[in-house]
Structure formats: C-alpha cells, structure tokens
C-alpha cells in the first residue's frame, strides 16, 4: 500500500537578498505500489529538486508530499529513512571509508542509539554487495572505486536500508551498458516502488511503467512511454529531432536521434 503522492507542490530555493523564484510549480505526481516511474527532463529542469522534495530534504512551500496516508513532513527524518531509500548523484568521502562501511550505513535508520552492529546487519551488507556484483570489493576503500562501482555501492546501501520506496537520481549515468541493464533489471525484479530520474530516454522507455516529463519546474507530460515519448514532445522539451518507432523486440518505443550531417 506504499504510495508516493505529490500534490500541487511548489518549491523555491531560499536565497538571501532575492525574492524567491519558484523552481517547482504545480507538480502532481504519484508512484503506485511496485511501480517503476521515470522522471525525465533537460538539465536544470528541476529533477533533483523534485526528488529532494520527495525524500524530505526540501520542505515544499505549497502542496503536500505523502507516503501512504502520512504527510512526510509531519513525520521525522528517521521515519522517512526507514521507508524511503535514496541513491544520490554524488557521495563525498574524504576520510577513506571502506565499501562495507559505506553499505553498512544503510542500516542506520533501523538501529537505536545503543544498538551495536549485529550479525544480521553484516548479512544484509554481504547480500546487498553480492546483488550488485561487488562482493569481492568489500574491504576496498570506497574512494578508490570507479564511478560506476561507486554507484553500485550506493545502490547496495539503499537496498540494505530495506525501503518500500526507492528514489534514484540518474542511477545509470556512470555505468557501462552491461551494468546499466543489470542494474535496471535488478531494480525491476525487486518489486519496490521506484522513482528515478533519467537522461537516457531509451533506458527510461525500456524499464519504466510510466514517465513524467519535467521542463522549467513544471510537469509537461505524463503517461506510459508510448504515450509520452513522441517526436513532438522531444522537440518541444529537449529541442532535438528524433525518430520514434517501436522497439523491434518489445512493445516499448525506440528513439533514434536525428543528427545533422
């Protein structure tokens, strides 16, 4: 019954000395149980900002964000972290944490102040690292991993959090084709509710049940990939020409970019 509901959301960054200019306006979005929902839009259109509103980092100026029947802003950060896991675009580490230590952080929302790390926690960590294909790397320094490996470690951390809803900000931008497909296939098989932002529209088309298109802080289209990804919309939102046909093997659309010679 987990459902993310965003209703009539508006948000503006707090900047000093300037009148707040709303970055997100009138956003209505929902993610049903087990649904894989994609968020696409140009650079600077507000994808990351919208996700932040949804995982309780940016307090909305208007509207409501709820998970199930609960307004997340009436609940604690901890309550949210027990239900929502996030894979962020960046993860600074200046002190040399190991891979296993980074993943183990994901258990934090489920532990009390006096709890130590249990054998079960360790099992969760091992399992999640195996799921992302990094079981062998658990003792390595996180900072020494490649960009794609880091992204997979962060996914493992999110899995260890045992969430009902998973949010990912461009989860595939560092991954090679094999891990792009493996990661997304794996995400699908989890049966979690997922909200993820994408720049690769073909990946979004292949894996998402529904898509939302955001442009200039407003949602301009939503629906199944077939309904949303039309040459007209791609021209309007991204300003590029594209050929859209059916994928030869599947029912979802395939986008071919038209480049000038």
């Amino acid at each position: 019954m987990t459902q993310l509901h965003i209703e009539a959301l508006a948000w503006a960054p707090q900047e000093r000395g300037r009148a707040p200019r709303p970055l997100l306006q009138g956003v209505d979005l929902h993610v049903g149980p087990g649904e894989f929902v994609g968020l696409i839009g140009p650079n600077g259109s507000g994808k990351t900002s919208l996700l932040r509103c949804a995982y309780r980092a940016n307090p909305p100026d208007q509207g409501r964000v709820s998970l199930g029947a609960d307004d997340i802003w009436l609940r604690s950060a901890r309550w949210c972290a027990q239900r929502i896991a996030v894979v962020l675009q960046e993860f600074p580490d200046e002190f040399g944490l190991s891979v296993a230590e980074v993943v183990a952080m994901g258990r934090a929302p489920h532990k009390g102040l006096f709890d130590g790390d249990s054998a079960e926690d360790a099992r969760h960590v091992v399992q999640a690292l195996a799921q992302v294909g990094l079981a062998e790397q658990r003792e390595r320094a996180f900072a020494s991993l490649s960009g794609g490996e880091k992204q997979r470690v962060l996914l493992a951390r999110a899995l260890v959090q045992a969430p009902q809803l998973l949010m990912l900000d461009e989860p595939t931008n560092h991954l090679d084709p094999r891990y792009q497909l493996e990661l997304l296939q794996h995400l699908r098989s989890l049966g979690l509710s997922i909200l993820a932002s994408f720049h690769d529209l073909n990946l979004a088309a292949a894996f998402c049940d529904r898509l939302y298109v955001i442009d200039g802080g407003r949602l301009v289209a939503s629906g199944t990939p077939q309904a949303v990804l039309t040459p007209g919309l791609l021209r309007q939102v991204f300003g590029v020409e594209a050929l859209v046909d059916r994928h030869p093997l599947h029912t979802y659309p395939r986008i071919t970019w038209i480049t000038r010679p």
Binding site: A57, L88, P92, A108
Partner: protein, 339 residues
C-alpha cells in the same frame, strides 16, 4: 598495517593499546628530576592500590611518585585522550581533515577568561579560579561562535569554521592587549598557562576530566552512526534519517564542553587533536565508532610520553608541554608530507 573488519582483530588492538597505555603510565612515573627506579615505582603504586609489593622506598619518594607524578601522568593521559577524541569527532562532523579542538574558538575564549581572572580578580576562589574562569571563557566563546555562524536558523559547516577563526582572532587580540598593558607578573603566569602544562594536576581535581572524557566518549559513540553519515554529506545524512543541524549542534556542544574542561586544566595543547586522529585512521579506518576509542587511547599514550619528554629534556625545569606537542606535531606533518 590496517586492522580489517574482523572484530576480533579490533578487540585485540584495543586490548593491546590499553596495556601499552597502562605500562606507559607506570614507566612515566619513574621519570622526573628526582630519580625513582621503576621497581620502587611499582612498589609505591602497588601499595597505594592495596597490593603488597616487595622493596623499600623512602617517604619522600612515595610522596613524589604518588602525590605529584601520578595525578600528572593521569591528567596527561586524560587530556591526550580527550583532545584526540574531540579532534576525531570534529573532523568527521565538519568533513575537514584539518579540524582540531581549538577550531571553535574554545581555547582563545579560555585564554581570555584566564587573563581576566589573573589580571583583575586574582585567585578569588583559590586554585580553582583559573580553571573555572578558563572554562567560563571557553563556554562563552563557543556560544559566540555558534551565534555568529547561524543564519536563518541554519548553521553550515563552512560558516562555523570561518566563525571559529574570526572569533578566535578577535578574542586573542583582546587577550594580547590585556597581557601587554597589564601587570607583568600576572601576565607571565597567564602566558605560562597558555603554553600548556600538566603541573596543575592534583588528585582532588582528576575526577572532573576523567568523568568528562568518559561521558564524552560514550556520547560520541552513541552519535557514531550519525557522524559516519554526516561525514558523507548533508544529503546522505538526511536520507539516512539524521537531522544534520541537530546532530552538529550536539557534537559541537559536547566537544566544546569537553575541550573547555581540558583546556582549563592543562592550557592550550595543540596538535594532539589534529594529528592523533590521522594516525588512528591509518590503523582502523574512518568508521567513527571504531575510530574514536582507538584515537582516544593513542592520544593518551602520546601525551603521556610527550610529558615525559617535557619533564626530562630541560630538567630540573619543566618544558611547557604545548611547545613539545607543537614541535613534534609539526615535524610529524613534515615527515608525512615528505613521505
């Protein structure tokens, strides 16, 4: 060498460091202007602890070892442990490997408190006047730094670091002005205190730093998971359910109070809080709940030995321990850079 994730290896490391610390304290008791052989030291300590040991020693040797040196060695261990602990926590919470206990302006506030008392009030409540005044100064400067750093009810790490530096400079300017214009005799004793020293240690004050270090360690260990998350960024901490703002305030308050107590008893001892956490990280990694106990133990061992050096290098005089830690710390960093 780095102790891996096996908890058994980690436990052995803790045991080993504890044993080294105990032995260091015992051996350190033998050093000083008056020589007392180690066997007699063991006998004196044993007797005080109710264990019968063979050997003979004079009353004055027992006095020197138990009433003068023992509290001093203990205070050294506690100050070293406390400063290293505070350094580890502050480095994590500010995400800045160069953060140290004096960062939040605590030491300059303590210095101001000490100067005001020494120059204008005198020892109004006996030997406790200076530590008390130093502590009040430390607490006041901490509030000042946090007040300066806040904006719109938020407190960002970068602003806090800058506020700490700015407040420190202003307070130190006042301190130096007072020293320059004030009574030179009183000024000399303040300067001596500011250079750092463990000479003020007595059995009847030891309980205070001991209690504070233990409470500090327990509190920071409890906040350890949050520290880990905060070390990896504000958004990460938030997505793991930690309120970064509240956590930072808790850590700053706890570390400032602990530093205030230590600085008030020992003066401003630099570099321990900056340097020891790095050595500890090389041993056990950056996970804060593993790091902090090791850091505290290493800090204790380190300061016990630096104090031995301070007591013997220019004997029968005491070298201010702050000079010794600064020299050693600086050389350590140069060695690290040249490696």
């Amino acid at each position: 060498m780095r102790v891996g994730h096996s908890t058994a290896a980690y436990r052995w490391l803790i045991v080993l460091l504890s044993v080294v610390l105990l032995l260091s304290c015992l051996i350190a008791l033998a050093f000083g202007p008056a020589s007392v052989p180690l066997a007699k030291v063991a006998g004196i300590v044993g007797q005080q602890l109710g264990i019968d040991m063979p050997g003979e020693w004079s009353q004055s040797q027992a006095h020197i070892v138990w009433l003068i040196r023992a509290p001093r060695v203990l205070l050294g261990a506690l100050v070293g442990a406390g400063l290293a602990l505070v350094g580890s926590a502050l480095q994590a919470v500010t995400r800045n490997p160069l953060a140290d206990p004096h960062l939040l302006g605590v030491s300059s506030g303590a210095a101001l408190g000490a100067v005001l008392v020494m120059l204008y009030l005198g020892e109004f409540i006996g030997v406790f006047s200076l530590p008390l005044a130093a502590f009040m100064g430390a607490a006041a400067s901490m509030l000042l730094v946090i007040g300066v750093a806040r904006r719109n009810g938020r407190m960002e790490t970068d602003r806090l670091l800058l506020a700490g530096v700015a407040v420190s400079f202003v307070l130190m300017a006042v301190v130096n002005l007072l020293l320059y214009t004030g009574d030179q005799h009183a000024a000399a004793s303040v300067v001596f205190w500011m250079l750092g020293g463990l000479g003020a240690a007595r059995w009847h004050v030891i309980w205070l730093p001991a209690l504070c270090v233990v409470l500090g360690l327990v509190t920071l260990q409890m906040l350890g998971r949050g520290l880990n998350a905060l070390m990896s960024g504000e958004q990460t901490a938030l997505s793991l359910g930690f309120n970064g703002r509240r956590l930072r305030l808790q850590v700053f308050t706890c570390t400032s109070l602990l530093t205030g107590v230590l600085v008030s008893l020992s003066g401003a001892i630099g570099f321990v809080g900056l340097m020891v956490p790095h050595m500890a990280r090389a041993l056990v990694g950056a996970e804060n709940r593993r790091l902090m106990p090791v850091s505290a133990l290493l800090g204790a061992i380190f300061l016990v030995w630096v104090d031995v050096a301070a007591r013997t290098l220019i004997a029968p005089q005491d070298l201010p321990i702050g000079i010794a830690t600064a020299a050693l710390g600086g050389l350590f960093f140069i060695a690290l850079l040249k490696r």
